[in-house]
């Protein structure tokens, strides 16, 4: 009995952890919590709406993923999509980054293999949050690599809820960026690790990370330019080492070879101007290595200096000549417009309206920096300070990553996303370093206070210690205040992030929600209403023309062919659609017919007050159309440089196709109490042209809140029609007619034969007879009878000539 308590306490003691184990346990549990937090904070949209794909591009990704699950990888790789860019089509396998789809399908297959009955849609919806969770892990290790594990933990927490990242990774935003940010950060982390260790294994891993990034997103260009820049900076600052040589060469060679396997990228690594920097630095590395070797061989420094000068000059000259030759011969393609627009923010506005027309390509406003980064914006410079204070290969990298990506984030709104990991990491360094300094101060002071008090009783101390003792209370309080301030700021950050996520970044944009008069939530599900109508009630091969924004959604949800879509590779084609929309109806119909269009779809917010509709996008259609077809001139649609749709609008505006399609019969509509009919709530004006007549198009469908309107293109009128209508044989109608004629005659004697004649009107005599026979065979009561007599009678009554007795064939 007596041994029991002793053994129990032993057992307890054995469970008691050492400090290091405790720390590990705390770290692992924090990481687990952060991992879960990053996932669930992105689920607002699923809880508030449903498990659905958001926005525009994700619908294309979803559609291709569906195709991949259904048809397998090889069919996917060789997929020629007839449903987009009619009549051009799209080689899907060769024009997309397959990383996202392959990842989703892989997850799907694994889950299926583990016998989880999931639908591919759910996998797609949750891919982005899942990868966001993984990114937090990478951020932890990255932070640990460049600073310490504390910074890593803070970085993981910051990036888990940072709105700049959440904006592209909420559940349902099934876009390339969702996995690409993970790949980007992973590549950087592994590369830095490789540079730090000089390990071939890590650099191999970074090559594969780069390969995954290339397969996932066009933003890989950032990696392939940042890394050589970083290496260049290291070379210039004299930090060249064998570790760097191994890491860079292995990563570059293998990464390049692997990247060439992606069809969309192909040989760009050796042929495009954007990828030349990495190659130049690669050769420079070899020169450095060679020089290093020569220096090792030569003992004479003077000789080496001379040799160095000659070699460097030669190398630069050879490189320059090679680049020049490549450029001139056209082997190396020049920089693309998108690349230019990154370096020069005003470039797109002047030269590529189609890039400038996208709202996420606009230069970033300060408010959106504040919105997306919140306190990180202030912590970022502080973090830079700490980095510079403790300069190493790793911190140089993160500084360069932070500064370059911040610049790009300023150029384009959507590139805030790329800057987010860097900002989080650098801010984490600031937070971690500050908190660590403060706590160290606090703890050491406590110790000093304790020792001081115990020693104070002893009565022997130096004067300097007394001085320190005197300043202690103030310092301690200050440290406590600063700590509380830091925690207050961090908690503000957490609140802000949650608020932004729930309010701004979690609406799927395909379903619109508004507050009703009684504060209840009203849902406008018009997009899906229209797309589903298209899917169910139009011919399978119908071609739909709309502005390119809706192309992906129409093909994915409506399952119909579109003329242009969000993959804006062919500017002329888009300009053609823009031209059709901004022309008069009779000019537009020529374009519409030439494009073989069956339906025209417009988005109109005049009834609901939905502002991002086609009328508000219309000037971009004019600009893009006018950029290719000079007949379209922007001033024609403006009055004194002002864009308006009311009575004072430009005549061309009031009669162009887009205006007509949006406002067709809108003049009869009462939208708001106390306003005249035809009051446009999105623009707050009464429309200028209420009497819209359409000649070549007819309304096919309008959704319940008028947000989507679909028009059918009428077939052209027949040029010569003798009987006034085209002659077709319709046995169904004739069946009714024969019923009147043949069978009824039996009992009644006189039948209304004359109305029947109209049924075979327009048919040649013999055709009429054949048609009647078809009708007889498909007769009404299903009783087989020989009707040759009444047939001839009918034909004669209709003043048709038939050779004596026409007998129906078997």
């Amino acid at each position: 009995m007596a041994t029991m308590p002793a053994s129990a306490s032993d057992l307890l003691k054995s469970f008691k952890l050492k400090t290091k184990q405790q720390e590990l346990l705390i770290r692992v549990s924090i990481l687990c919590l952060v991992y879960i937090l990053a996932f669930i904070t992105r689920l607002f949209s699923v809880l508030r709406y449903e498990s659905m794909i958001h926005e525009f591009d994700p619908y294309f990704n979803y559609r291709t993923t569906l195709y991949l699950t259904e048809n397998g990888f090889y069919d996917f790789w060789n997929w020629f999509d007839y449903e987009s860019w009619y009549p051009l089509g799209r080689i899907v396998g060769g024009t997309l980054y397959p990383g996202l789809m392959v990842t989703a399908v892989l997850i799907y297959r694994i889950l299926r293999f583990l016998r989880f009955a999931v639908h591919i849609r759910e996998v797609c919806v949750l891919t982005a949050p899942f990868f966001a969770s993984n990114t937090t892990l990478v951020a932890y290790f990255f932070g640990k690599e460049i600073w310490d594990s504390g910074a890593g933990l803070v970085a993981a927490i910051l990036i888990a809820i940072c709105p700049g990242y959440i904006s592209r990774s909420v559940a349902g935003s099934y876009d390339n960026e969702g996995v690409a940010i993970f790949a980007l950060l992973f590549t950087f982390y592994v590369f830095v690790k490789a540079v730090n260790t000089g390990s071939l294994a890590w650099s191999l891993a970074s090559a594969f990370g780069y390969f995954y990034m290339v397969s996932a997103w066009g933003g890989y260009v950032f990696i392939i330019n940042l890394i050589p820049l970083y290496v260049l900076v290291l070379l210039i600052t004299g930090r060249y080492s064998m570790r760097l040589y191994v890491a860079y060469n292995c990563m570059y060679i293998l990464g390049m070879l692997l990247a060439m396997q992606i069809r969309f990228v192909g040989f760009q690594h050796v042929q495009s101007g954007e990828h030349m920097a990495v190659m130049g630095v690669f050769f420079l590395m070899q020169v450095f290595y060679f020089l290093d070797w020569v220096k090792h061989m030569l003992s004479d420094t003077k000789l080496f200096q001379a040799f160095l000068r000659i070699t460097v000059t030669c190398a630069v000259a050879v490189g320059g000549i090679a680049l020049g030759l490549g450029m001139v011969s056209g082997y190396i393609s020049p920089w693309t417009g998108r690349f230019y627009s990154l370096l020069d923010p005003t470039y797109a506005k002047d030269h590529i309206p189609i890039i400038a027309s996208v709202s996420e390509h606009q230069p970033t406003a300060w408010s959106s920096f504040m919105f997306d980064f919140h306190i990180l914006l202030f912590l970022f410079p502080a973090g830079l300070y700490f980095c510079f204070k403790r300069l190493s290969d790793a911190t140089i990298f993160i500084v360069m990553y932070g500064l370059t990506s911040m610049y790009f984030a300023g150029v384009m709104v959507r590139l805030i996303l790329v800057a987010t990991p860097a900002v989080c990491l650098i801010s984490a360094i600031a937070v971690s370093a500050t908190v660590k300094n403060l706590t160290v101060l606090l703890r050491s002071k406590n110790k000093v206070v304790q020792t001081g008090s115990t020693k104070g009783s002893g009565g022997s101390k130096s004067s300097s210690k007394a001085l320190l003792d005197q300043s202690q209370p103030f310092q301690k309080n200050g440290a406590i205040a600063l700590l509380f301030g830091a925690f207050y700021l961090l908690s503000r950050y957490a609140t802000h992030c949650t608020w932004v996520t729930s309010e701004a970044y979690s609406s799927p944009s395909i379903v619109l929600a508004a507050r009703g008069a009684h504060g209840n939530r009203v849902i406008f599900d018009d997009y899906r209403e229209a797309y589903f109508w298209l899917r169910q009630n139009t011919p399978q091969d119908a071609k739909v023309m709309s502005w390119w924004d809706y192309g992906y959604q129409i093909t994915a949800m409506g399952n119909r062919t579109v003329i242009v879509d969000n993959n804006t590779w062919n500017n002329t084609h888009i300009a053609t659609v823009g031209r059709a929309m901004s022309s008069y109806e009779d000019e537009a119909i020529e374009i519409i017919r030439s494009l073989d269009v069956d339906y025209v779809l417009v988005v109109f917010g005049g009834v609901t007050g939905y502002s991002s509709d086609d009328i508000n996008k219309f000037l971009w259609m004019v600009r893009i159309g006018g950029g290719v077809f000079p007949v379209i001139k922007e001033p024609d649609y403006l009055v004194n440089g002002e864009y308006r749709v009311d009575k004072g609008a430009a005549p061309k505006m009031l009669n162009c196709l887009m205006y007509k399609l949006c406002y067709y019969r809108f003049g009869e509509m009462l939208t708001e109490y106390g306003k005249p009919p035809g009051y446009d709530r999105a623009r707050g004006v009464e429309i200028g042209n209420k009497d819209v007549k359409l000649e070549h198009l007819e309304e096919a469908f309008t959704t319940s809140n008028w947000i989507v309107r679909i028009y059918r293109v009428k077939p052209p009128n027949n040029r010569c029609n003798i009987h006034g209508q085209s002659g077709t044989c319709n046995p169904q109608n004739l069946g009714v007619c024969l019923d009147l004629l043949g069978l009824v005659d039996v009992n009644l004697g006189n039948a209304p034969t004359k109305p029947c004649c109209s049924l075979i009107e327009g048919l040649v005599d013999l055709e009429g007879a054949v048609c009647l026979c078809t009708a007889v065979r498909a007769n009404v009561l299903g009783i087989h009878i020989n009707l040759s007599i009444s047939l001839s009678l009918l034909l004669r009554n209709c003043e048709r000539k038939v050779a004596t007795e026409y007998i129906c064939g078997p």
């Binding site: 659905m52 309304e699 009404v780 087989h784």
Partner: protein
Amino acid sequence: MEAWIRARVTLALTLFALLFFVSRSSPPRQFVISNAERRIDLSSHIINVHLTLKVENTGTRPASEVVLALTPTEVDHLAMVDALAIKGKRKKTTSVHLEVKPTELPDAPPIDAKYFTIYLADPLNSGESTTLEVLYVFMHFLEPFPAEIAQSESQLVFYHDTALILSPYHIKQQTTFIKTPSTKVESFIRVEPTNRVGTEIKYGPYEDCPPYSISPIHVHFENNSPFAVVEELVQEIEISHWGNIQVTEHYTLVHAGARHKGVFSRVDYQSRQFSNGASSFRYLLARLPARVHSVYYRDEIGNISSSHLRTNSLKSELEIEPRYPLFGGWKATFVIGYGLPLQDFLFESSDDKRYLNFTFGCPLIGMVVDKLTIKVVLPEGSTDPSPVVPFPVEHRLEAKYSSLDVIGRTVVVLEKKNFVPMHNSHFQVYYTFNPIFMLAEPLMLASAFFMFFVACVAYIHIDLSIRK
């Protein structure tokens, strides 16, 4: 010349008519129908024909098989035929359900009609008579004419039939009443005596019609009732012994009336509800079992946000609205799913088996289903499934893999074509199940987690590095 042709045609037509009326051979002739009354209800797109026959045995031997005849077209559209024998007189009548089977008549009939035999409960002796009530239900039988209508037009349909009841027996006296949904009747064929009062057209009484006599008629009238047809309904009933039945119903709904032509104008549809799109429909009502929970309503592209659920202790009503109003020829597909408490539907039978007792039918009210497939997914590990359905259906077995299934679940698939609401009845699926199988999945999950932790422990404690 004209007169000559006319005379010839008249002669020919008379001869032709004779073909119809002269019966060349005869089925069992011992019956004579002394009085027949037929009531045809055309108020919706499901046509109910109530036929009351007073059958008299004029033969010498007792007989128990009464033959009904239908034209081939009628048979194609026939969803259901049902017969009752009426016993007793006046107020004390009782009805007995009789068996009806399709038959072939051995001797060649004059026209290619199709036959059904009613098997009387007790043979009818010579000279006796009995009253039979026959119900035919037809679907897809009304033919829209014109076949295409614009939004503002109302829907006109043709009904084809014969004024005289097609029968292999001599009918002494017969009357037919046709009830139309409204007084708007464009035209109808008169076969004197014919009388039309309000929404009813009365044909007859006709006296002494020989067997196989017909007289084709049609009625062309307005019918704006929704021609909602479910082309295919797949209902999946998944039983979980943890206390839930999950029902998932996949619908392919179509408006089978006159096709919509030309413009669909939302202004007209919204502002002039009654004169516009009279034959279209927007709302559907589904009657679900009581205590239904977690109801959802969606389609391939996501949730459909327009539905209302009303529940009380006896039944639940789900009012759903497809994404858009359905006009003639328009289609919509959607899925309704809901959960039900297990104890309301699963019972144990005396021979140690369990059985599911569920409604065979379509929860949407007044819906015709062209092809109804019911899949009962039994829990993993259940054996000997046997369905019991009150009418003939096709059935087969399948396997389905749901979450964490290893050997797959047995699925009993029941298929019925041409389903009308009158078919609604209960069916049972019997099977044996050992409750030990319920533990399989939790145990699998638990062991997977255990393995994971063991792997973690092993990884921490084993040093795999090559260098020391």
